[in-house]
Amino acid sequence: MLCKIAWGNVRRAGRDYLVYLLTLTLAVTVFYAFNTISIQVDLAGVAAENAGVGDLLGGIISGLTVFLAFVMGFLMVYANNFIMKRRKKEFGLYQVLGMSRGQVARIMALETLIVSGGALVLGVLLGIALSQLMVFFTASLFKTQIADFHFFFSVGAFMTTVGCLVAIFLVTLVFNLRVVARARVIDLMSAGRQNEVVHTRNPWVSAAVFAVGLAMIVVAYVRLLSDGLPYDGSPEGMTAFLITTATVVVGTILFFFGLSGFLLKALQSAHGLYWRGLNMVTLRQLAAKVNTVSFSMAMISMILFLAITAVTTGMSLASVMNESVERGTPVDYTATLIYFSPQSVDEMNADAASWDEPVRYAAADGPVDVMKAFEADTFMEGEREGEHFDLASIAGDYLQVDCYESTPRGATKPLIALDELCRRVDLPLPKGVDDSSAASMGLLVMSASSYNAYLAFRGMPQVDFGSDGYTVLSDMGEAVNKVYNAVLGEGLELELGGCTLRPVQDRVNEDASTFANSMMGMNSGIVVIPDDLLATLDLPPYNSYLLVDYADGVSVAEGDDYVAEPRLYGDITNAAGEVVAGHGVEATRTSTYESVDSMNGLISYLAIYIGFVLVVACAAILTIQQLSGVADAGRNYRILAELGTSKREISHSVLVQQSIFFVFPLAVGIAHSCVALSVIIELVTLFGGMSIGGTVGFTALIFVVAYGGYFLVTYLMSRGMVAEFVRTR
């Protein structure tokens, strides 16, 4: 019997439950589909190239799912409250007819169960379909080929999804039972009959609140733009940032709190507009809802802001890597040695003294031959186990480039430092390095002959440095290069070792500044000076790059395999047998491309997942609020029709109201994002330019379609409801 009532109720309250069902189904679909990521990654052939990416993604996504389930749980409780509010009288009636509270509670639990069950079945079916399709999407994100496609079902993803749904169901149930348990029959019965008390605030007060909110938002924008993000993590920076954040949050809430009052006041002062058609009805309806809705509008705009900012930043970083990867991979294979600095050697020796097999460290007198040094390495496993690493056997053209520190032996301060250069060209320190030790750290130094050898190796024209020429190399992007370009462009003279150097180039040649394969720029500044001068400065070596193209007879795959083979690194020693350097990063062009692809895929994946769920959650809240608002205003719309308003005009009024509810949070969210992004972009440019396009555009499209889709559904359903209210003959 209770089942029958519950089932009947679900069917009767279909419209209310429809949005609930829709959103829950969508959530289940997305939860399931994204949680099959590890299987997808296998199928898409990503795992074959990047072992571990699937597990990493899978781990992050299941963690995220728990977080997003919380968001959805909150949303469902909210949606459900709306349904409950509208049905208080009905629950009162059951009790008047002699049903116990327990029985009423059971009816309600059954209703929730029916809807959740429906959402589970529908959602998992859709999720299974979506996950098959997503394999292709995954393959394109990670730029791989699908080796062996077959239908799949993930028990793990299914269990995760069911777990989340059960949690959501339980939370909703608890809230529902509370409604029944707390309510007195008399309140329930009179809930529908009570006169709608319109909480209106003095429009002047509302307008003032709106103005204060707007002012606070502007202040927060200005603060953020001038202070930037607290990169350094200093307490003052963090406090300032927290104040800015609090200001924008409070400002946003006040903005929405006063919005309708402000609109009302603004339009009321325009008599011709206010007393025209349904304008005053539209505005008053908006104003009447402001108490219940303004807070959630503010929250939604903040959530949209987070979603937009996170997604855009993530995907831009990904696209930055994509664009810089070509420039960042000049040769088939690169390796780096890093020399111990004179300052650190003593400390290392002190540590090493207690070891069983003491090792002597020393600062190198000069660069070592990297190719030779590698011969000390031995392969650890496979068919070559025990053999020495013979790079020469696969190398065709190769080149070693050495860099020196700019702090001479025995000195404490560098000869050339970034902060000093900034001061001399009157530019602020780039964001992200200000207030850090990086600023006072010296630039590196390279000899003109080394650099010209590099240029020859890359097939680029030579640069004549003469006896007093210099230039600066960097591939770290606009933020730092702005400074170097100013230095070169203004013809800044450098005093080094009694010699006055003048620039031989007027701007940084970024295409000829990369010495190691890497996803992003790694060279933050090298000054190239004449060989004769370098010899007089007594600078310790900093690092040596080895750039190798494979020999003609060696295929890329063979070469990559050879250098990727695990091996035991030999000590890099000087003539006295003292260790002078350690191994730095080794990278092949292929592996760099692959890591970019999988990093791209990873970021895009997460961005779309988080963004999509958040956007859908926001849109669903708005939809539920609007539909219930239309239902509450049904009587008003019927009166309007009786007074001779056409259905078209009423629908238009509803459309205007709903547009304001949907568009304003989005607009505010986008405005917040634009400001935040303009600050974040400064940070991102440290790693190379930032561009918004391509995948970001595609993602934006998906979000707009989802958000706009909810808007459309809301409006169409509202129009249907209005048609029902006003049906006269």
């Binding site: 008599h271 025209r276 058609g277 005053m280 308003t645």
Partner: protein, 289 residues
Amino acid sequence: MPLSHTPAHAAPSQTSSPARATSGKLPQTPASGGAVPVLEVRHIEKVYGSRQNVTRALNDVSFAVNQGEFVGIMGASGSGKSTLLNCVSTIDAVTSGEVLVGGVDVTRMKTAKLTRFRREQLGFIFQDSNLLDTLTARENIALPLTISRVPAKEVLRRVDEVAGRLGIRENLDKYPYQMSGGQQQRVAAARALVTDPTIIMADEPTGALDSKNARLLLESFEAMNERLSATVLMVTHDSFAASYTHRVLFIRDGRIFTELRRGAASRQEFFERIMQVVAMMGGEGSDAL
């Protein structure tokens, strides 16, 4: 109600004694005095339900209302009086017959035209005042005018004028929930009146009011009718309310049972005559009257 019309057929025979009191029992003919009828109802029928289970809510009803007349329609619950008003006011569609307002047949109008017609020619007052709870009294009264795109200045002038006549000027900036039921009804009356409609339809306007507020509202109606020469058609089951009108049509089982004209009689005398008819109609109806 099933198809058998026993009570309806019995009705004419019982009218013999009150017929002396009524001034005429020819509903088809326009009211005497050479006045122009603004509303003519010709042989309308309203049938609900399927073939097996037909309810005849209105059965061949005809009458006319003249310019400046204040007409009441009385009947018990379920007698068809509200259906009659709904059909006449174009809120409901008739099954057959014609309803002419200002000489135009509204039963054949298309929805869009009807909406406009309703807006321009009719004024409505309901049992619950049917004010928009989100609007102030002033805005509620202004609504029919703004919907018709009357210029703002003109809107405010006319609202003020009507409010002054009905004595509700001090309530203009209140919301419905801040006013008493009587005040709300007078705002609703002002809203009905503000467009200067051909005819005002009132459905149980005193139904939800106490006797003092009912009296105040009816006096407003009288004032509307006499001073602004508004034509009013009022449905009621309250003999006291009906006694304020010029003429009362009694509906029973979907037919016009009889008609009383007030003529030169005082309101008190007219009230007593109405009570007589009500008592005579008797049976199931009397307890509801």
